[in-house]
């Protein structure tokens, strides 16, 4: 995804003279040609995320389109008030592209983990939040959204799904029909979900844009009252939006996502994928429990 990001951003910087790329001292090698060719509109801003966001809003105020990139906890949590005030409150457009989704940088320790980014951004009115599951989704989303005049967050992961799905303008997709339960999968967790539901009579809904939330996708589907929400960030992040979409119905809901613990065991990335995620997510067990229960 990072390579796709650098390629599409390079293209946008070359095509659109109103765009400015600000890097928080990461991705410098990948963007070396962009920086060399456009030194005024592509720069290594340095390690000062709060000022980078304020500065970006000043650019936006003067009709430029900032593209800001750094590691998720530093972009969202460290500079949260700048995102809230300088972009959200001031209703200015800008693009914020993070790497290191949730525990992607597991072995670097908790300073570099960020499973709370999306939950935090959902508290800023007007922010668009995009969680692409694959490179093509990101590419399509970024090209379509970068000049949308809204503050927009793109969450890149080191572990995209194998299958490229269309971004579908952030409206989500219905990937499978079924009656026994509905599985709602967000972005890159699709690869964890698909093997678990292979032969089951369940409906599968896929979401890659969290905000604005497409309530219609949920309300016009979900025929069963049994729902499993599978999230790549803190479990429970999108629950209020599901509940709102299905207001008035009695639901049996299971959730799978990142638990609210500091992950201090430095588990390696591959093991995290193979073991810990599957243990935490435990999707098959949760679906079986859901289908077997009386609602």
């Amino acid at each position: 995804m990072r390579k796709t990001f650098s390629e599409i951003t390079d293209q946008i910087i070359r095509e659109d003279e109103k765009t400015v790329l600000l890097l928080g001292d990461i991705g410098i090698f990948a963007f070396r040609k962009t920086i060399e060719d456009f030194p005024l509109r592509a720069m290594n801003f340095g390690i000062m995320e709060q000022t980078m966001i304020s500065f970006a809003s000043g650019l936006a105020k003067e009709k430029f389109i900032p593209i800001v990139h750094t590691i998720a906890p530093f972009l969202v949590e460290r500079a949260y008030e700048q995102l809230k005030v300088d972009f959200g409150y001031q209703q200015l457009g800008g693009n914020f592209i993070s790497v290191g989704a949730s525990n992607d940088y597991s072995s670097l320790g908790c300073t570099h983990h960020c499973p709370g980014d999306v939950a935090a951004l959902l508290n800023i009115p007007g922010f668009e939040v995009i969680v692409p599951g694959s490179q093509m989704e990101f590419k399509e989303a970024f090209y379509k959204k970068y000049a949308n005049n809204n503050p927009t967050y793109f969450r890149l992961t080191e572990f995209p799904n194998r299958e490229n799905l269309p971004f579908n303008n952030g409206q989500g997709l219905k990937l499978k029909n079924g009656n026994a339960a509905t599985i709602i999968a967000i972005g890159p967790v699709l690869d964890l979900v698909l093997p678990a539901i292979n032969n089951l009579d369940v409906e599968l809904l896929y979401i890659n844009q969290i905000m604005p939330f497409n309530r219609e996708l949920i309300s016009s589907n979900c025929k069963s009252n049994k729902i499993l929400i599978v999230e790549p960030f803190y479990s429970g992040t999108i629950l209020p939006y599901i509940m709102e979409s299905l207001r008035g119905r009695t639901l049996l809901i299971e959730q799978a996502g990142i638990s609210r613990d500091f992950m201090t065991d430095y588990v390696t990335i591959s093991k995290q994928q193979d073991m810990k995620f599957y243990q935490e997510y435990n999707i098959l067990e949760k679906i079986s429990r859901l289908i077997g229960s009386n609602s």
């Binding site: 340095g46 000062m48 709060q50 000022t51 500065f55 809003s57 000043g58 105020k61 209703q91």
Partner: protein, 260 residues
């Protein structure tokens, strides 16, 4: 009306607005009034001249709690009606205790949380610079605001990009002295690559000279404006009790009589 009398009249507007609302940071507004009035007077004068009709200099009030002074000056230059004093900081008013650029004509940034406006202003200055425009961006910060790390981060950035069109005005009213000492300020800004100058920020002749200076500089500048918090009303001057306090009816009359 001469400038001194206009400034007295604006102080009356500020006091009246705060009195009616029971809200507002009056002493902060009084310490920066000359600095804001000077900017808009110069801008207005420049734009009246044929050569200056394209001048688009901008002013960012980073210490948003000084909004009363900004509103008073903007109304004086007809950005909106003087009736702002009637509904300042009241329900459904355009004019809050801190300025909102989406609501108030002439306001460049929605500030209030300290340390934000200066970064925004630097971004605006950079945007002007890379478009080849010669517009200047003036940003007024408070001495308490200097405690915020983002102020100094922004200074690093402004120096790195040689933002010669970026001018930081420091309202040195010493409100921060009880917490963190900020002196010597000129040395600090110089070490960050700024050209510096110290003025009496409540002396309008000295303030006017800053904005009238059309010299070309190669670096960002910092103007350290020594001011008196609450300037113009003896009981308020340098009295922390008044930082966020509004007068009762009797005190209001007494204060107004000092501004004649």
């Amino acid at each position: 009306m001469n400038d001194i009398n206009v400034l007295k009249s604006l102080r009356k507007d500020i006091l009246l607005a705060a009195y009616k609302a029971g809200e507002g940071h009056v002493p902060s507004a009084f310490s920066i009034l000359e600095l804001i009035f000077g900017f808009y007077k110069q801008l207005h004068s420049d734009q009246q001249s044929l050569a200056g009709k394209d001048i688009k200099d901008k002013f960012v009030l980073s210490k948003g709690h000084g909004a009363l002074a900004l509103y008073a000056v903007l109304a004086e230059f007809d950005y909106f009606s003087k009736t702002w004093v009637e509904n300042f900081a009241q329900e459904n008013s355009l004019f809050g205790g801190h300025p909102d650029w989406l609501k108030v004509p002439g306001v460049e940034a929605s500030t209030g949380s300290l340390g934000h406006g200066i970064g925004i202003a630097a971004g605006m200055a950079y945007a002007q610079k890379i478009q080849g425009n010669n517009s200047k961006i003036f940003c007024l910060i408070g001495d308490g605001e200097l405690n915020e790390g983002t102020v100094w981060e922004t200074c690093l950035v402004a120096n790195h990009h040689k933002l010669s069109n970026f001018i930081v005005l420091v309202d040195q009213n010493h409100s921060s002295d009880r917490a963190i000492k900020t002196e010597p300020l000129q040395d600090k800004f110089r070490s960050f690559g700024f050209l510096t100058k110290s003025i009496n920020g409540n002396n309008f002749d000295e303030v006017k000279a800053i904005y009238a200076d059309k010299s070309e500089y190669e670096t960002p500048r910092a103007i350290i404006a020594e001011t008196i918090k609450g300037f113009g009303i003896k009981e308020m001057e340098n009295n922390p009790e008044w930082h966020h306090k509004t007068p009762d009816a009797k005190t209001f009359e007494s204060f107004m009589s000092q501004l004649i």
